[in-house]
Subunit: 315 residues, 2 copies
Amino acid sequence: MKRPTLKDVARKAGTSPMTVSRVVNNKPGVSEETKARITKAIEELGYKPHSDARSLRVGKTCRIGVVVSDIRNPFYAEMVGDIEDLAEKVGMTVIVTDTERKLKQEQRALEALYNSGVDSIIIAPEGYNVEHLEAYKKNGINIVSFGVHCPEGHFSEVWIDEITGAKKVGAYLASRGIEKAILVMGNPRKFTTRGRTEGFIQGFGKDPNRILHLPVNWQSAYKAVIKLDKLPEAFFCYNDIMALGVIKALREKGAIPGEDVAVVGYDDVFFAELSALTTVRIDKTRMVNTAFSLALSDVVEKIKFVPELILRKSA
Amino acid sequence: MKRPTLKDVARKAGTSPMTVSRVVNNKPGVSEETKARITKAIEELGYKPHSDARSLRVGKTCRIGVVVSDIRNPFYAEMVGDIEDLAEKVGMTVIVTDTERKLKQEQRALEALYNSGVDSIIIAPEGYNVEHLEAYKKNGINIVSFGVHCPEGHFSEVWIDEITGAKKVGAYLASRGIEKAILVMGNPRKFTTRGRTEGFIQGFGKDPNRILHLPVNWQSAYKAVIKLDKLPEAFFCYNDIMALGVIKALREKGAIPGEDVAVVGYDDVFFAELSALTTVRIDKTRMVNTAFSLALSDVVEKIKFVPELILRKSA
DNA sequence: CTGAAAGCGCTAACAT
DNA sequence: ATGTTAGCGCTTTCAG
């Protein structure tokens, strides 16, 4: 009942392990006849190559690590799903680590991935600190940063031009004659928070009434809006989830989102469309594809993606 | 720039690799003094154990595989997130595979996990076929089925009593005087579809007006409801996502969910609360905890979980 | 075309 | 308390 090995197959086929290895890896130099015998033995024993042993020998694991802040956030779930699709095609395995709830720090997540042996890592970093990323790069692990731009870092990136994206939101709201807006953002140390805030102000032409810095989940957004004495004309939220929290609160306060108050989200996750939420769309699929190719190549490239404003009923 | 090995550390500390190994694994039998020297060398070189090499030697990979139909479904994303939290605590690595979009078949997903070397697998199976699961069990891989009950299968399970759960929905709607209901379900070959349908009928006391068998996503539910000539008094949906699709369609038709038409979902994912959706709650956290322990133990147990009806505005 | 030898990094078992 | 030997399953290299 033990897992069969190359040797077992060799014995059964009456050859050496080496010849079996050649067959398994489609290497040339095996006569059709022995090949057939070996293939048959493989079938019968249900032999499958032992990938760890191979990795050890070859020095490549065919594993790719992904670091996201929370897999439960649909944006990241979709990203991970896309990466898995791509990985499957090229016979790689994906290992996901989330930092927000579990590891608390990217450092630990990266270390865990390094320890479990990955060839490359795609990471959606928080506010940062490049050095630790470059360290892994030097360890021979290919690093691709997803989302955040860090000009000095010597590793590949697919980054989002947050400023331009948020600017579109600000400009649109201003064009609708909106004067008073509240920003519902995340931690101000995050690059994303900063980019989205700054871009909004640029587009809006002036400061918003308030900027709330909250934990990134719908509950905190919901509570914050419930507590508000008077409502603004518009909310621009850090992501779609928080936007939904805002909408829930508005409804409970008797305000109709999209009529009384405009609400704009960010990410365009699947339920944004479902909820008729105006939001900023990132072309995730294309970004993921690019990130994945970069993860497998050894050139260093920094590729920019500009998000789009998607208008729906909520604004 | 190559990854340092035990040997490198040994050379640097002036000992044998074996002694270093003992220090790395906190094994007894090393004097404080050499231990200190070795620890220092480890620090300086930035040595990290090579887990594949260790796995090869020890025969355990400390990797756990998870098979779900779609990681993008929040129910599974939450499940995977919970598993990761648990795995991190015991120093294991999680490998996720989704079947719906990528591998199409559990068989292939399981094979992929087997090939990438996992100690155990937690699988949320679709309609099934036990044999292939038992095969892996025999290969020395511990299998835990998540969600579906399969009395004959010789592997552990944490299963959901779908019938009782759905019965509560049927009974509740009946008690509210509802006569005409439509079921928005998934593939009728799925165990879950069958259980939920049957349970509903038992609780409702009679057949629903219609049972729709649709692809499990909000779009299909939405379209189906849009096309409906006349609306029933209630919808019971396969999961929360489809329920939201129904709600979107109802709104567009000018019907108010929870007032004109009752809508009930299933799973209680995070946005069910957000959307005030009445739904059937599965105690996911407890289930995942149980599944995880079973995955690490070698007793075979089948543990039942009974879902609860959570009343919110939508019904 | 085929095989024997060596070794990837690690550790169990047995010395010393 | 420390070191030596052997070998996990595989593949690279070199020799037939």
